[in-house]
Symmetry: C2
Subunit: 461 residues, 2 copies
């Protein structure tokens, strides 16, 4: 039995132990965006530092102005080095009433077809995925006493909340963190049977706006129509953001957005993406974005603007005839190719200001910015990883695009000069950021096996 085969066998015979460790992490309420959970974020970072130390990593939870960043190193291997990035924070859980269970009481669910899934907030995004890599390292250490290559691990605690403290941390610790290639496990398979490496990711620009009109809530009977209503002002701004063809109307928004290169278009066509199934899975049938674009373009290669939250006035039970003093919205832009998030933020603010009447004021709050990113799929490490995935899953692994933003990919590139291999085992039905998030046991198990293989294959680079 080869070393690799022994490691895979070790993983197979220790799935229960790996699950128990994952459940421990999942029980920690590391919601980074809500200050009320700061202690839980720290607890999660410390859990990871201790766990990494237990398998021989030199690891610690390092302070930042926000939540800690976990860094661990294991130099027991030789050759080309990797830096694995993951995040230990999770999205908020509201609306809590839509969960079928406690989001922080993980359990293994057996479905009607006999398949099993890990159920909890963070099961897929990103705690379950992070542990696939750590468990692969643990197995290599247990079986061979070392790792195939030098491995550094960096776990962030603010991926879901803007991540403003990571870039300065990377710059300040560039010498320590730099490796030959980055690895990230925060993406999805192409489909439940086809592994994938994501080589194109959209960027993100998040903004919160607060429109204030009257200096107090007013009775709409006394003031209705005479007093400006911030709900109306905000609705007008949000409605104006897209035209009848679904295009974003902010001047200059499409600067740096080319048509999809022919080579990518051809590659994507081979994937036989089924928009009906994609939308059908969430109860929809009609692509809602730019007219004349395919659904795959919309989510991979076209920018967009989404109102992620809005609110103003009375939202409780019953009715209250109020003109609210203020109304607010959280708006995010997904960016592609060479769009500049800072230019778009500035253009958005101008766009909003132009629509705020003299009697209202508007405030802006920044929530993260990251450019879109593309990686060179002709680099050897990419192809070795793809081969390892292909062998593990028995199906040709695909190079794909991704609609979500992982700003750190850009930061790793700019601060450390590293390309990043994005290989993940999430599935489209994992309900990440939604109630009832899950991670298939198959994703977890074969994810661990995949990383064990990838570490082995990268050793021969």
């Amino acid at each position: 039995m080869s070393e690799l085969e022994s490691v895979l066998a070790h993983i197979d015979s220790h799935v229960e132990d790996a699950l128990e460790r994952l459940f421990e992490v999942l029980r920690i309420k590391s919601i980074s965006t809500d200050p009320a959970f700061a202690d839980q974020c720290r607890a999660c970072a410390e859990w990871h530092a201790k766990d990494l130390a237990s398998i021989g990593f030199k690891a610690s939870a390092r302070d930042t102005p926000g939540h800690p960043i976990v860094v661990g190193h294991d130099r027991s291997g030789n050759g080309h080095s990797v830096l694995f990035y993951g995040h230990y924070d999770v999205q908020p859980v509201d609306p809590l009433e839509l969960w079928d269970h406690d989001p922080f009481a993980p359990f293994l669910e057996t479905r009607a077809d006999g398949s099993r899934a890990i159920r909890a907030r963070g099961a897929s995004d990103d705690k379950g995925q992070v542990m696939t890599f750590i468990e692969a390292c643990r197995a290599w250490k247990a079986v061979t006493g070392k790792l195939p290559i030098p491995v550094s691990i960096l776990l962030e605690g603010e991926e879901e909340s803007g991540g403003v403290n990571l870039p300065p941390f990377l710059k300040a610790n560039a010498g320590e963190l730099r490796a030959d290639v980055g690895l990230i496990c925060d993406t999805s398979m192409w489909d439940p049977k086809t592994p994938a490496i994501t080589t194109m990711l959209r960027g993100l620009c998040g903004e919160e706006i607060v429109v204030t009109g009257p200096d107090r809530d007013l009775h709409s009977g006394f003031y209705g129509s005479a007093a400006v209503n911030p709900n109306h002002v905000l609705a007008r701004i949000l409605a104006d953001l897209r035209d009848a063809d679904g295009r974003v109307t902010i001047p200059g928004f499409y600067d740096g957005v080319p048509e999809l290169p022919e080579v990518l278009r051809e590659q994507w066509e081979k994937l036989h993406f089924d928009p009906k199934a994609f939308l059908g899975a969430v109860g929809l049938s009609v692509p809602a974005g730019e007219r004349g674009r395919t659904a795959l373009e919309m989510i991979w290669s076209r920018p967009t603007c989404e109102v992620n939250g809005m609110g103003g006035g009375y939202q409780g039970a019953g009715f209250k005839t109020v003109i609210p003093s203020r109304a607010s919205a959280k708006v995010s832009f997904r960016l592609v190719f060479d769009q500049d998030p800072h230019a778009i933020r500035a253009a958005f603010r101008d766009f909003v200001r132009a629509r705020v009447p003299a009697d209202c004021k508007v405030e802006f709050f920044e929530h993260g910015a990251g450019r879109a990113i593309r990686f060179p799929i002709d680099a050897p490490a990419f192809e070795r990883t793809r081969q390892a995935l292909t062998v593990e899953w028995g199906r040709e692994a695909a190079y794909i695009g991704g609609g979500g933003s992982i700003p750190v990919t850009h930061e790793l590139k700019s601060a450390l000069g590293m390309d990043v291999i994005l290989a993940g085992f999430a599935l489209d039905d994992d309900r990440i950021h939604s109630p009832n998030e899950k991670y298939d046991l198959v994703s977890f198990h074969r994810g661990m096996r995949s990383w064990a293989r990838i570490l082995h294959s990268l050793a021969s680079s």
Copy 2:
């Protein structure tokens, strides 16, 4: 000393006692729109029934499918009868953090200029105003052993929440409740020195709409622009409700809305309404409604549409890149002259449906409907009331319009055939429906004296 003078003197010497009773009512959290406060609504109704019985009314809290309705009769007087209507329920208190004190812990505040105000939710709307009338009756009974005329009192518990149970109650008890004229104390003075009778009130049509798109909350990275976003759909609908000139765009909305009759226009001009002061008091300066209309027209004689509440997606601290499954809004229309609330509701629903894409569904929830109303100011009871107010306040009382809706005025007219005299002592800065509601002690004290005079003057009809 005449009987009336004795009654007024009695009121003057018992203000403290009257305040203590009012504070008792103000401590009861009778928020009718929120089912969590149903017990408190009942408690408030029962408090009133007991209080009325204590001064010789035959009174009880009567069950309805909603909150109880209090009815009391005192037939000790002779001549033309009156039915006094008030409501014992109050608006919700959120946002609670904007209150300077507990909304249900009433107290008397002394201001820098030495004037005093009663502070609590409902102090003005409508508990304080209701008690001005009841205290006037109490004083008449205490001094003379009877009332000048036959008086019935009806106190509703659902005025702030649609009031659907009142019309059938009026119809079912028409014989018992019918009187020669109705009296309501739920309106404002023209200014702090000028008493007023409101003879024109806008109607109301309230609607709640819920737009549902995807069957769960989605990650905007994966689904952004491909999946329809209910926030965008709702913002578009709400923005479309008014055009660039501030006119409501729902087809047929202005049916039954004439230009202001010349006689009224002349009368209103004499009031020297100051739009700058009106808007300036709430931190505004520009009338926001229909272009070319005066602010007084906007609030008294023009219809409007206000988004009283809207919400969708993540509204907590931080940021969440979600496409929400649903978004909702509460929209109300203030109606004038002959606008039909039911026709407007139907037209609004058509308007909304026409803007909901195929992939979304929309649900509608009805929240009240009442036509606008005008009363004949040439009827003797109106003029007698105006004279009584003029004497009490030492300033000519004005006939004015009102922006708010008091649907019961229409119901009293249609179910009982009664005209209603709307005389109230609220002030524009009472912050009703807002945090820190108050009622001036002068309003309370002279309000009691005003009703004592009005009861006396109506006896000579």
